[in-house]
Symmetry: C2
Subunit: 281 residues, 2 copies
Amino acid sequence: MRVIDTIAEMQQQADQWRRDGVRIGFVPTMGFFHEGHLALMRHAGTLADKVVISIFVNPTQFGPNEDFESYPRDMDRDLAMARGVGVDVVFAPSVEEMYPEGFQTYVTVEEVTRPLCGASRPGHFRGVATVVAKLFHIVKPHVAVFGEKDYQQLLTIRRMVRDLAMDVQVVGHPIVREEDGLAMSSRNTYLCEEERREALLLSRSLEEAQRLVGKGERNGEAILAHVRRVLGAGPRVRIDYAELRDAETLGTVETLSRPALLALAAYVGKARLIDNTVLKP
Amino acid sequence: MRVIDTIAEMQQQADQWRRDGVRIGFVPTMGFFHEGHLALMRHAGTLADKVVISIFVNPTQFGPNEDFESYPRDMDRDLAMARGVGVDVVFAPSVEEMYPEGFQTYVTVEEVTRPLCGASRPGHFRGVATVVAKLFHIVKPHVAVFGEKDYQQLLTIRRMVRDLAMDVQVVGHPIVREEDGLAMSSRNTYLCEEERREALLLSRSLEEAQRLVGKGERNGEAILAHVRRVLGAGPRVRIDYAELRDAETLGTVETLSRPALLALAAYVGKARLIDNTVLKP
């Protein structure tokens, strides 16, 4: 496994592979791996000849009062885990390599980034779209795999790729969960024992919503009221949003007449966690 | 010469060439060719094995009260001229092909697009950066040639390419002028005989500025005052801007201590014309 930290070397490696007819799979990450990341890497391995991952905690997708500084990092552990699942190249640039002096170019995706995390985290998806566009130009992948936990991010990347005619296939991967249902996240390490217990209410509220829909409930407000009730059982849980949105456009949904995204964000202690499920009528 | 009007076919052709080790040169245009365009195409031919040009009057770089509808078009003439200088592929997509329903992604370059044409034409450079980024993803060029008449556009593209790590070499080409000095432009066709005569004041004012600098003038305001005096001799000339700016950053310049861009935009009748020169102390 090769570790590359400059843009020029990564592009050279990608060009070499492309000349040789090698198909490149890519998983962009912020590191501090859990089983969810590894699943994306393994999946990329089934879709391509070589797997490149990036490890880059991207400052431009964090707000001024968010956790960029404290975001968990462990490069040695990450490299060992990546090696363990057969990754071929880890691209791990510095912030200076990615954002040199005078940097002033941003990619913005509009409608699809407005609600949900886009509303709670101004500038977040501009940072995501910009860094992913840049990583695509550097890694030159044929296919890139993104987790569905960051559902709005996946839609944003899909939209960017289509709108700007980037020649990359974007593949989503189902949410990977702990045995008890908690969606895996690097931010779960922020949770103390009691918070960890209450964090389970997120996935449980989604299961309850699925159960309601299975029993015939189609009224969005009724579904959301139940979700909020479940989450309300945790004194350490503070809801940021709980919304039902069109699964393609993220437009508002009042009645479940086609697949809809049920998306949650909640603070559990100081950790901001997200989770989602698609409800099908 | 092949004419392609779909993104998929153009990307296929580019991939084929890249697999074969063919170097791709690219000249994006809005058509209605003059000798300036042809010079860019010939120059691209000296830098690459195959030359692709695009002909696309890009609606997103025109303001609501600008000349998108009336912008001159003549596809048959353009194709004949492109064939005449040895172009290999003309990419000529429809507006629907480039901007399908739901399009919502834009590339924005910040500081360098704020003054000059960026101030006069809000949104113009966002449209330019977005369409050029998309064209680069479609044509996959190794090298792209842009005219220096659109100096701020050239700087914007250079900045975008560097900031987003697009693996394209951006080459500028000197302004091509009519025998009497008027910078060639598709918009020169808007000029009636008298306007055409007065339009010459733009290039003449730049020559006068060069002459002043040659004689030792370093005071920006003195140079600009002279430029405005020269332009003022034309009753049909209405100055949009006449500014001295750092040739790299487009920051303000008061005294000529390093190369500075002298940039002009003026309406001559209904035609908005631009011209520029770099003044070296």
